[in-house]
Amino acid sequence: MTERYDILVVGAGPAGLTAARTAAAHGARVGLIDAQAQPGGQVWRHDVRHHAPREARAAISGLGQVELLSQHTVVAVEPSALRVEMPRGASELRYDALVLATGARELLLPFPGWTLPGVTGAGGLQALAKQGWPVAGKRVVIAGSGPLLLAAAATLRAHGAHVLGIYEQAAAASVHAFARQLVHWPAKAMQALGLRTRLAGVPYHFGSFIRGASGDDTLSRVDIEGPRGSQSIECDMLGVGYGLVPNVELAQLLGCALVHQGAHPRVQVDALLRTSVSGIYAAGEAGGIGGLAVARIEGEIAGHMAAGQTQAATALLPMRGKERRFGALLSHHFALDPRLLSLANAQTLICRCEDVTLGELDGFSDARSAKLVTRCGMGACQGRICGTALAELGRFPRNGARPPVFPTRLATLAGLTTFPSSDDY
């Protein structure tokens, strides 16, 4: 089945929602694709128990003529077309212009015990709680780095969890310097203040990180390293995440150039959000971590651009510049403590799909040869977890993306002309 659109937007987070609405307002036929069952992306993820924030509801209800294609995962690409898979069936969606708003995922770093049931990402645990995961009365530790820890802890508390503490790896001086900078972003300062109020009574520790997790067959205890030495805490759940990493796999598959700066690539765009491929734009965290405001303003710019309205897009550029500077501030003040990169020992599993330990990867200098010998990165997550962690640990850079972008039913790929004779599967 083939369907034609003027403009396709991939990702129904704040960037994609705004891009789709903006483009449709110019009269284009717009399709908004997302793998999730509900629109909203990460920050506006549907919550089974609580209403979405007002701005999220406005963004979703304002979609108007936009065709929302939920539970559609883009798995492969063809010239000017995307191959999408649904729970039942697959189809090909053609476009004249494409906006990539694929967002970001959490950076998850391996440590002894991180595969135990009960250990999740921090944003991961927030997402699960919103999906209805039973957390009421559970003793929860939140750890890792960045403002997302506060948002996650607040959601967990709202769902009835007993949040024992938030453990931020960045030093107190660094976090306080960050907080002082928030005067330049009053909306963010208000949000931070609101979160602190909702988290009254929850201790917020700095310069602290999780060294290990243990338990018989599920988590029961975490070991924490802090400025005043180590301690153990009994808990039922640990949510630990070290910030965010852009989702670039689809852009890569489309041939869009990436910026390789630091351990994790982002999609390369010019000021008007044009990628290196004509007719393809990228908005939001796929183009670099920056938060909600960046996602919304870039969604609007990309929506205008995809509809051919360069002037309307150009008018928004000063706003984009200001919000993008916030991203730089984040990465500066929440830079990772080098001790986090040596938490995993030779026995710690790195590839959770194929159960490959860090020790087994000794002696390899690139992801491809490691994969051929150890199967590291060969599993269902396609290296999204282990490849990202290994890049952060400085072992080797991430592998290029290959189709399908997600594991796929064979029938979905039938007839694809661009499916390569893959040499490294």
Partner: protein, 81 residues
């Protein structure tokens, strides 16, 4: 928001709010979602469709990500052991 959905997890009945994920429903019954290739128990990690640790059998279809699947009345969910 108050509507609920009933499904079965490894033969055990579970009732959760409409719109909940299969992962969330399962957590009422078990934290063991799958066995890894070397036999250790695994449960959701990322909560957002990236890690594939939450794969289960839903209505006879194997390897479906529980965190990406909304519950449906009468659904039959099984873990792989």
């Amino acid at each position: 928001m108050s509507a609920t959905v009933r499904l079965s997890v490894n033969g055990q009945p579970v009732e959760v709010p409409a719109g909940a994920s299969v992962a969330a429903a399962m957590a009422h019954v078990t934290l063991h979602f799958r066995r890894s290739v070397s036999g250790t128990a695994r449960a959701p990690l990322c909560g957002m469709g990236v890690c594939f640790e939450c794969r289960v059998n839903i209505d006879g279809v194997p390897h479906v990500r529980a965190c990406m699947t909304p519950v449906i009345e009468g659904m039959q969910v099984r873990t792989d052991d």
